[in-house]
């Protein structure tokens, strides 16, 4: 079944097609949610919401451009909405405390994707969101400020702080 046929079948609400669509794309979508979420459980919730949104908004996909790209954007939007709700999450800027917490989880075995994900998850939601949008999604500060309803300078400050913490985590990792 081609991607287009699959999407059309999903539009007809065929359960098998819907499950197939999930099976094909869930791991890529989950990787995005893991980047934005604060842990795996949080990411799984984001993933669930993302797919529900994908299916309910499927008819808005116009078969222009990549379907995977469209789905990824839905996932990012969903994750942003999730992170808006966690504004009050307390966070320490104490790198050593963060390192302690993370070393408890034994995450720094190597610099593979999963280690990097763990580092992202140490960041507070705001820093993590801005870093993802800027470094991975390629948005500009102007665009990020519009999406998140923050000022450009806040976006820049948060990016700076995110990078600083990530740098400290990477340095610490290299030293070990």
């Amino acid at each position: 079944m081609t991607e287009k046929e699959l999407v059309e079948a999903c539009l007809r609400n065929e359960p098998k097609a819907q499950e197939e669509l999930y099976r094909r794309f869930s791991s890529v979508m989950f990787a995005i949610c893991m980047r934005y979420g604060k842990n795996q459980e949080n990411a799984a919730d984001m993933l669930q919401d993302s797919f529900i949104r994908v299916f309910t908004n499927l008819k808005n996909f116009r078969f222009e451009g990549s379907f995977e790209g469209w789905m990824k954007r839905v996932a990012v939007t969903t994750c942003l909405d999730w992170n808006k709700k966690v504004k009050s999450e307390p966070f320490t800027e104490d790198i050593d405390a963060a390192m302690f917490i993370s070393s408890q989880n034994q995450i720094f075995e190597n610099l593979e994707a999963k280690s990097l994900i763990s580092m992202l998850q140490i960041l507070p939601a705001g820093y993590r969101t801005v870093f993802n949008l800027y470094a991975l999604e390629g948005f500009s500060h102007a665009e990020i400020s519009e999406m998140l309803g923050i000022s450009e300078s806040t976006s820049k400050t948060q990016l700076f702080k995110a990078r600083k913490i990530l740098q400290a985590l990477l340095d610490k990792h290299k030293a070990n």
Binding site: V28, I117, A135, G149, E152, L170
Partner: protein, 364 residues
């Protein structure tokens, strides 16, 4: 001085942008249940439409709020920014051997572009996340260079010496012509002017803090530490971010050419902004300056202050925010030296106890 972070972005982008992780089991079952529930409700078309509208509406709301806020700031202080810029240029140019790449026009340009964006944001912009963004687009080079400038600026203004602590260890007063504390350079007074500018702050609501400057004649300008500026003897500002520390800075130049500035730390912890200031030292010599360790804090409950000497013996304790330590333990004068302060309190509407620890100096 400038740190290079391009490798970090690249590392994360290369490792993660194409990453795939298997989700935990059970998610599909929830999704499946979710979509069949939605399918059962009225028609899926209506459900979808309203869902999308909610998303669009919320972006509109954000844009509208940001737009109004920006317009208000710009309208009320058109020349505050210009003055601020000049001030910073002057400040920078006085520093020999310091890199002068940082401040000048950034504050102004950033604010302008922000306004343009918010004012020109039309209906089409609302769709940009979902529709108009080309996949894998490269970010514009201009924004990168802008950001590094801005970061240096933010660092020099708002980053405490020790970003770890709840309360940044800043002197209350800081002559404008000095280096900012973040540069770590020793203070050099250019001109002998009295320190008299004082900031009073008060929490109005969780995130809204009002500031008042007194003790100095001259127009007062404000930098709230999060990129927003203002002017006037009295002003207020709403902090939008999550947990972060800011240094509010006010500065003024009097007619006889004296400049003075004062700093006031604001901590946003969770959803609340804390306006509090703990001095670095006290000098109880009866000259009226820093005779007492005057902690400035807004309306809080369960205030409790304990000061320990170097042997960890408590020398002073109070639960009244209006009582300051005068350097005595009972009737005995304490020796000069370092003391540790532990301050705990709760915000009026919160059950969460905040604890602040700080090392202070008693000078004689």
């Amino acid at each position: 001085m400038k740190e290079d972070f391009s490798d970090i972005d690249k590392l994360f982008r290369e490792e993660l942008s194409q990453a795939a992780f298997n989700p935990p089991p059970g998610v599909w079952e929830s999704v499946s249940a979710g979509i069949s529930a939605q399918g059962a409700a009225v028609t899926t078309a209506a459900a979808t439409k309203s869902g999308l509208l909610t998303v669009l509406k919320s972006y509109w709301l954000w844009l509208a709020v940001a737009g109004i806020a920006t317009v208000v700031v710009l309208n009320t202080n058109p020349d505050a920014k210009v003055g601020e810029t000049e001030n910073k240029v002057e400040q920078r140019s006085k520093q020999s051997g310091e890199e002068v790449t940082v401040l000048p026009d950034n504050g102004v340009t950033t604010d302008n572009s922000e306004t343009d964006n918010t004012l020109s944001a039309g209906a089409s912009d609302n769709n940009r996340i979902e529709n108009s963004r080309p996949e894998n687009s490269n970010r514009p080079a201009a924004s990168e260079s802008g950001s590094s400038n801005q970061e240096s600026r933010d660092k020099s203004i708002s980053e405490p010496k020790n970003p770890v602590s709840i309360i940044p260890h800043h002197p209350h007063h800081e002559p404008v012509k000095n280096n900012s504390p973040a540069t770590g350079n020793p203070q050099v007074r250019v001109k002998e002017c009295p320190h008299s500018l004082v900031i009073q702050a008060e929490m109005i609501s969780n995130r809204l803090v009002s500031f008042k400057a007194s003790g100095f004649t001259g127009p007062v300008k404000w930098d709230f530490g999060d990129g927003h500026l203002s002017s006037g003897l009295q002003t207020q500002h709403e902090y939008k971010d999550e947990t972060s520390n800011y240094i509010v800075k006010s500065y003024s130049t009097s007619i006889n050419g004296c400049t003075d500035s004062a700093l006031y730390p604001v901590s946003v912890i969770g959803s609340e902004a804390h306006a509090l200031f703990v001095p670095d030292y006290l000098t109880p010599n009866g000259d009226g300056l820093n005779d007492e360790l005057k902690i400035e804090i807004g309306a809080v409950k369960d205030y409790n202050l304990i000061i320990f000497d170097s042997n960890n013996r408590p020398v002073f304790t109070t639960s009244n925010p209006n009582i300051s330590w005068n350097g005595k333990s009972g009737i005995r004068d304490c020796d000069a030296g370092a003391y540790n302060l532990v301050l705990s309190y709760r915000l009026k509407d919160s059950n969460q106890s905040q604890v602040v620890r700080k090392r202070i100096l008693l000078k004689r």
